[in-house]
Each structure stands twice: as structure tokens, then as C-alpha cells.
Subunit: 151 residues, 2 copies
Amino acid sequence: MNASATRAPAKPTGLDCRLAVLGSDVRLTPHRREVFDVLASSTDHPTAYDILDRVKSRSPHISLATVYNCLEHLTTAGLIKQVQLERGQSRYCANLHEHVHFHCETCGKVSDAHPAADFDPAKFWNLPKGTKVTRMDIAIHGTCEACTAKH
Amino acid sequence: MNASATRAPAKPTGLDCRLAVLGSDVRLTPHRREVFDVLASSTDHPTAYDILDRVKSRSPHISLATVYNCLEHLTTAGLIKQVQLERGQSRYCANLHEHVHFHCETCGKVSDAHPAADFDPAKFWNLPKGTKVTRMDIAIHGTCEACTAKH
DNA sequence: TTTTAGAATTAGAATGATTCTAATTGCATT
DNA sequence: AATGCAATTAGAATCATTCTAATTCTAAAA
Ligand SMILES: [Mn+2]
Ligand SMILES: [Mn+2]
Ligand SMILES: [Zn+2]
Ligand SMILES: [Zn+2]
């Protein structure tokens, strides 16, 4: 983060570890690639520690600092999203479609829910004219299907 | 928090510092009352430190620990809400009506926005049948009226 | 092929917000 | 006045994250 600010980043020209994904400009080093892959194959919104554990099976020597670095680069590049549901650990999500988060207060699971096609959320709130909306964070808390069933 | 768990709380029987507000069961000690009053007369969603500063003008010796204690009791009693917009400091809000938070990314201000009367948010997301919703946290990020105007 | 300069990675220290601990103080009933 | 909790406090501890200061990589330059 400090280092990358010192100068314009050298344009990646190398091979397998420098895939330009989705038009983004991140250098996809092996670690960043692994962190991304872990996240892309997860639907449970893991924390940095969860990701560390999962990446360790492929790269046993990766450090927590590197996981945080990778997550920051991937987030800045727009390849993943940081999700803040409660105080404490952030969670991460590789689903880039517009969606909201459902958090089960019984089992703790976090899942994605997608809006109906015609959903235009901004019009439901009386925001003053002139307000510009860039992003919405919507978290729904409750009891999931499974937890409701086994009650 | 620890102390209050040891036993059923003695029912308040005293006078001015024990007002039962809105059917809640908190003892409204002078400090809790001041913290609540500061919040009730604020629309800017102050942090614990902001609240400490404001309460200090009336109670110069109040401690940060007490502010946190008061905020926790008031939150548990349902008299105020804790608001988590980004990582870092929590904010607090005494508006108990259903509302969402607008956060201006330019000036940092946080304000309330109220939904249209016919707004039924849950139906817009395809939550699995059987899901029970208890609460929604909706944060809208963007540029406020004033900041948009002065650009 | 060696050099070199910037970027990536690392362990551990530092930070910041909150929570916990262990007194001490205050109040309401006895 | 004595008793017994609950409230309050300062400071320590905790937890997630960010920063620091090396060290290692890598890709282009020489
Ligand atoms: Mn998600
Ligand atoms: Mn509010
Ligand atoms: Zn569940
Ligand atoms: Zn603004």
C-alpha cells in the first residue's frame, strides 16, 4: 500500500501470474491469485483468517499480512468486495453482481440475495434532491431457512 | 455488563433519575440520562468520543468507560440504536423510526432518510421461503445535497 | 547473464476502538 | 447508621487491522 504509492505501477507484461482479469489493473501474483480463487469458490463470505486457513493448504508459508495485502489490492482493483456486517472482522465476497447480504443470527451464515430485475432501491427513500448515490450496503438479519425449519 | 448479569436488576423505585421511558426497564441514572439527551438532541450520529465531549460540558468527570456502559444499556433497552457504517468507530442514533442512513463520502455527514409509506423491502429480494427477517441495515453512500451543490 | 530497481512478502510492532478488571463510590432499603 | 447491590472509574487487556523495516522476487536493462 505504501510501496504502491511511490510511483506509477509498472505495467505487467509477464506471463501466467499477471493475468489481467475483468479489465482490472492488478498484478495477479501467485498469492493474489490464490486469495482470489479461494474467494471465487466460496459463497460463505470468509474473514481474513478464514482465507488465510484456506490458502495455507496450497501455500503453507503465506502470512496474515500478505492475505490482508492481497485483499486490499483485489478490493481496490474492484475484483472483490469487502463486507461489513457487524463490528469485528470484515468479510469478503467475490460476487460482483448487485446483491444484498442475508445474515442468519442463529447459525451465523451469510448468504447473497439478489434483487428483482426491476428493483430501483433509491426511489424508496426520500433523499433530498441533488443527492447522488454511489453505493448501497444492504444487510438483512434474521433466521435462515434451515434454522427456521429445525426449530 | 458483568455486574448486571449477576442478578435480576432491582426495580427502580426512586425519583427523577429513574424515569421509565417508552416502557423500557433501564434505570435512567443521571449519566445515562445525559447520554440519552445528548443523542436525542443530535441528528448527526455521533461516535462514543463525540458523545463523551458533549456530555462533558454537563458532567466534566464522566469517563469514556461510563459512556460506553451507558450506550450499551440504552441500546439493550432499545432506547437508542448502534449504527455501523464503516469499520472503525460505531455511531449512535436515537431515532427509533424505521429509517436508513445516508452517508456523504465527501463531507462525512450521516443523516436519516425515511422510506415511503408503502415500502416493503423484504419482497424485493428473493429470500428463500422460510427465511425470517428481524432487522435490516441499509446504508446509502454518495454525495449529499450541499456537497453536490458546491461542486 | 548479471545488474538493478521497484514491487511483493514477511514477522513482528504499533494502533485504535472497544471490552474487561478490579477497585471505589453512591443510593435505597433495612 | 449498616447493608448490599448497581454505577462509575482508571487503566489493562483484547481484537482486528495497519504499519514498519527488513528480505526476497521478478522483469526489464545493461
Ligand atoms: Mn456477497
Ligand atoms: Mn439514524
Ligand atoms: Zn441459520
Ligand atoms: Zn456532504
